[in-house]
Subunit: 353 residues, 2 copies
């Protein structure tokens, strides 16, 4: 495969010197882009888009055609793994994901097996391979997975949840059973990420969307411990190149030292984290990715420029920073705000390097 | 008014020695209690219950008849203040609060005035007075208010919100206008809390439900700064007694040092905060209130006992801890779990004092 022409992201994730701060955006291929909505309409639904490698490749590349982003991230969903386990993923308009067969009985959890990515998640691996080829080394491709605990939340709740009553009741009344589920999920995530790496992903990110809803001790036991296991099982070098691993726990700003000790190369920060404080706390050990509030972009290009400048200043001089939002870009964002963000980072960041 | 027989809560909030750890529960007068639901049914609606001092007094006292709680908290809603400002509070079943006249125009914000609590929030003050009299000094009575920023969120969004698009767009595009609104809200909260203190509240708590959705710098500028102003304006002594002030920011676990420096006597912690770490960080300056995950109670009395014991152990030996949940008790909680919680704290905590 083609060598990287722009390896700024990889270097920043490994805390090596770079000429500027690389930038990519969580959910950069998404509903704020008219061209994405057009492709999605052609696909018929989110899921048929994600499961069609040609169309998924097309939307993965769309934001790169518009903005000078320093990375691509494979277009997919974090729930592909439980779908491959047989839970039956669907999407309800306006409500998000919904499993047809959520885990409600002990027997269902005991019967789960680790899917074979080559067979059961072929469409993701094909997308990774096609995107990598299409990028032709222009920028690196990021692969990803949901964290074992975040997958368990959806698998038990059956979809998005406000109070997490079912997963938490399981956690507090049958911790042994939840540990069993997390063990299966961890092995599934390792196999899935390694298959993405073998198919062409040059960095990987673990999204722990719901670990931040746990108490501090429960986070360490039920989410962080399994992400640590994932990091131990995932290839960190492939094809002679280091494959950096990013760990992102939404709502994890109070637990940064524990997260940084997990073995990851970089910690993703949501917008509530104080980036300067985070750097002084863990910046000697890991790179930091983040963390502009996605809501800033809703206020338009001028507010976005100001916000982006403040994030760069908060990190300060030196390497080890990947610019990103603190969460996925909102569907209500004007593409002009995203353009202003990417331009500002490229314009102002060289002064910090 | 009667002197306090059980002043354990007040002493713990002031970090004075106590014989055991006092315990009360956020939303302790609430829907998990059948007697509450019966009174509410008689009242017709949540709002007519909150606006009727006789019935509000009745539900305030209900949990104290069942459990050996160390404090009462006046039954009311955090949105009484904007309601008194003329925004027209209502509740939509299953959706929470909704204002008939949310703030959508600059003119509406400019026209706001600080309500006179004696006149416009008389029903709350009457409830405070009646509860204080009925308690006859058995335990202290806590008064409360929403924080200036949290009130602003509801006033601008018009109700609960998932993304806070309107308030954040205002914050990032018209910070001057939001500052004006927060200034008004701060003066209103000060007048409201002082009126509650004069009517009989022996401690006050400021609920910052939504400050935790802000970035670190924005939290300090738009939420914490105004709570600090509230703390400066609120009476801290009345009738010859200290009136401790508790500040609670949900999602504020990463900002504890700044919160502790606000001038409050105690910091409320949600369940994501590491209580032991919080104590070593700020426990020399302020008392800590919290922080069991309310979801533990859903798993039943046994899990609740274990969870309560773990919270006591996490704080460790010494004074300055008020036991509470990390958020309001869920309506799906069995009263038996609450009983187990209160018993466990009274049974195990003397060993830590």
């Amino acid at each position: 495969m083609a060598k990287l022409k722009n390896d700024t992201l990889i270097r920043a994730l490994l805390r090596q010197p770079t000429a500027y701060t690389p930038v990519w955006i969580m959910r950069q291929a998404g509903r704020y882009l008219p061209e994405y909505n057009a492709t999605r309409a052609r696909a018929g639904s989110f899921l048929s888009l994600a499961k069609n490698p040609d169309l998924a490749t097309e939307v993965t590349l769309q934001p790169l055609a518009r903005f000078r982003l320093d990375a691509a991230i494979v277009f997919s969903d974090i729930l592909t793994v439980p779908d491959a386990m047989g839970l039956g993923l669907g999407f309800v308009e306006g409500e998000g994901p919904r499993f047809a067969r959520p885990l409600r009985e002990e027997r269902q959890i005991r019967d789960l097996t680790v899917p074979d990515p080559d067979r059961q998640l072929r469409y993701v691996l094909d997308t990774v391979g096609q995107v990598r080829k299409a990028l032709a080394g222009s920028v690196p491709l990021i692969g990803f997975s949901g964290s074992p605990f975040t997958l368990a939340c959806y698998m038990v709740e059956g979809g998005a949840s406000a109070e997490f009553r079912l997963i938490k009741t399981l956690l507090y009344s049958r911790p042994d059973l939840l540990h069993h589920l997390l063990e299966i999920n961890s092995r599934a995530v390792i196999a899935y990420l390694n298959a993405q790496i073998e198919s062409g992903a040059q960095a990987v990110m673990v999204f722990d969307t719901w670990g931040g809803t746990l108490g501090a001790a429960e986070y360490r036991e039920f989410s962080l411990a399994y992400m640590q296991r994932v990091l131990e099982g995932v290839k960190r070098e492939h094809d002679g190149e280091r494959v950096p691993a990013i760990l992102f726990t939404k709502g994890g700003a109070a637990w940064l030292e524990a997260i940084a000790a997990s073995g990851c190369d970089a910690v993703g920060l949501d917008w509530t984290a104080d980036l300067g404080m985070a750097r002084s706390l863990i910046g000697q050990r890991v790179a930091l990715q983040g963390n502009l509030d996605p809501a800033v972009l809703l206020a338009g290009p001028e507010a976005t420029r100001k916000g982006a400048a403040a994030v760069l200043a908060a990190f300060g001089r030196g390497s080890g920073h990947v610019f990103n939002l603190g969460h996925g870009v909102s569907q209500h964002t004007a593409p002009e705000s995203v353009a202003a963000l990417v331009e500002t980072v490229h314009e102002l960041s060289p002064a910090y390097h």
